[in-house]
Amino acid sequence: MSSKTQDVLLEMRDVRIEGFSDEHWNPIVKGVDLTLHRGEVLGLIGESGAGKSTLGLAAMGFVRAGCRISGGSIRFGDTDLRTASEAEKRRLWGTRLTYVAQSAAASFNPAHRLITQTANAAIREGLFSASEARGAARGLYQAMSLPEPDQIGLRYPHQVSGGQLQRVMTAMAMLPQPDLIVFDEPTTALDVTTQAEVLLAMRRIVEQHNTAAIYITHDLAVVAQMADTIKVLRHGQEVEEAPARNMLSAPKEAYTRSLWSVRKLEKVTKPASETVLAVDSVDAAYGTVKVLDDVTIRLPRGRTVSIVGESGSGKSTTARVIMGLLPPRRGQVVFEGSALPPGLKGRSKQQLRRIQMIYQMADTAMNPRHTVGEIIRRPLEFYHGLTGAAAEARVLELLEQIELGADFYDRLPSELSGGQKQRVCIARALAAEPDVIICDEVTSALDQIVQEGILRLLMRLQKECGISYLFITHDIATVQAISDEIVVMHKGKVVEQGPKEEILSPPHPEYTRLLLTSVPEMDPDWLTRLAASREAGTNPATG
């Protein structure tokens, strides 16, 4: 064997994977080649349904239930993973081949301590003795910058936060010093501030041990930090593959460029206008836990105000107070100059109609048993008394407006893609003809290219109908794309509030700075700079 081929760790040739649905096998991955060298990190990106996760799992010789590998070869080191027996593969899994799942919270066994689960595979395969494995686990916890690395392993999964759990899972994957780790969207569910920490820790460890990795994500800025090579997938086929820096600076294919363009969406700030909705020194609490502390927010008519902050900062609670779902302890919500009744029950139909809400998870915001037509029709009937042909005509008009069309009228939500679902939710809100729409993380569950479509639609509707948006998000790119004004929240308090340009340019209060510097940038050196600056404790130049 030449040194060149020895260097190759994983070689997938013309891999084809099919999934079973509608009584026949449908292709998911349609012949993809993938070569990974020792110590190389490959970023796998693409919109949902591109086959990224399926391909990532296939690299470990694994397919989900209901799927099968129908062609091609997968060689890992000396093993042919397509023909290897389950027992052979199980010996590799958890030792030489490891996996970090998207949702750590759903992947841990709640009944066992973290350290037991971290060390389990390594002990089972006889790589370490029990005490050695525990020692190694504690070392890794330290390397992952987990608090109290000696003690944290004794806790149970529900006793640590999501970000910490994700790091423990990475430590679990690193412990046997594997040759290859497959990361499946490991930071998608995390806050930006936590994400930056986890990314740093993961990259440090991968570099130290010269581990090869496949990093699956739809976030380009994240993949730019982690990967040496980037492969773009679409509809189960490879679009292009190139070294990360080349790919970022000069993407060859039109599709790749369109993925990149999302981040370039930007809105020209309009001057403030009269206030349509105001939250006036509101305190709110769940039981005895105070979640909002003297929050004051002003929403000008026809403008977009973004509320940013990490989870637990009180963003969504603010929305609940405005909607009347959580009556405030103190303060009031003022709509067009007059105070709204605090609770839902006290509000009139017209008051309810004029403030609408769009949810983060379009899946759960639509009744799965109602068709698109019924969903959009209900507010028309309920608020405007439209029935029969008039209602149907208006629904079709709304479907046009959200760029879908008449064939969607009879579909059920389960027959729509994520972006289409969110559009239907937007149409439902529009049907009420509101003055204000509250958007609660409406794009964060979507791929970037779909996000862009939704944001463009929202902006167009604002221009056409003069709707004001209160846009709750933790994604600064989205904020830049859509807002006129920004409110920064932290621990139930408003940290900063003002026009977009003012908030996004220094000087910043401490928390705003942390939030802004944690947002991954498309520059592949961003994470390195961030690490350096956090160690030095200085303010990095933001791009």
Partner: protein, 306 residues
Amino acid sequence: MTDTSHTYSAAAEAGRLRIRRTRWQRLQLELMKAPASAKIGLSIILFYAAMALFAPLIAPYGEAEILPQPYAPWSAEHWLGTDQIGRDILSRLIYGARNTIGIALLTTLLAFAIGGGLGLMAAISRGWLDQILSRGVDVVMAIPSLIFALMLLSVFGSSAASLILIIALLDSTRVFRLTRAVSVNVVVMDYIEAARVRGEGLGWIMRREILPNILPPLVAEFGLRFCFVFLTIASLSFLGVGIQPPTADWGSMVRETAQLIQFAKYDLSAAITPLIPAGAIAMITVGVNFTADWFLHKSSGLRDEQ
């Protein structure tokens, strides 16, 4: 890879559509794919339903028509003989289907109306209403239901109306628990909140938003509940406090002809006679269970379809 368009279009995004079929076509397809047990169960139910619906046309004699010869043996005239006062057993068996199934069905429907309605209300409102209803149900369920039913029937008398009401009330506790448990998962969904924020009333939220989503487990439970109600009525009739003569009913038929068993060594067919209504009870229970099993499998086995 430039064959696919790179400009974004929401309508074209993803979207291999499920094949659309009419309700009837889907039903036919489902029936074709159904396992043998479900087919057997369905045919049993259809057979019984036909008996119940067309009893006066099928039965050779009237329900309470007394013929001159009591305890007649099996013959061409009386296929299953006659009972202690000379009523044709086959005819009573056929009318029995109508009475027993009819009363059981009515009772089950009532149990679902009471238990389902209260269960939904408890799940939506939570708080004190939920507490009162749930604890009340716990108390009722703590008492063995057959003994409780016997007690109540002896207090209120064994009319068909009180029979239906009492059993429906007792069985509604189980329906309440199931409905509450499945609705609690639906109530927390965003679409329920969206409906509340829209200003919808309790009735709409219960009927249009929650009910369609909890229907599959409730339908399966309906089948099983029907069996239990059926068995309870048959047991009560056997004990003499259920459906009262001269109304034909399988439970009381077993009791009335039970002593024939001792003549087995003289006439085997006479001994089989009391087993026939018992067998009819067993058969419908098995048939409904088979069908409910299939339905449960269909509504929970999402994996099969994906």
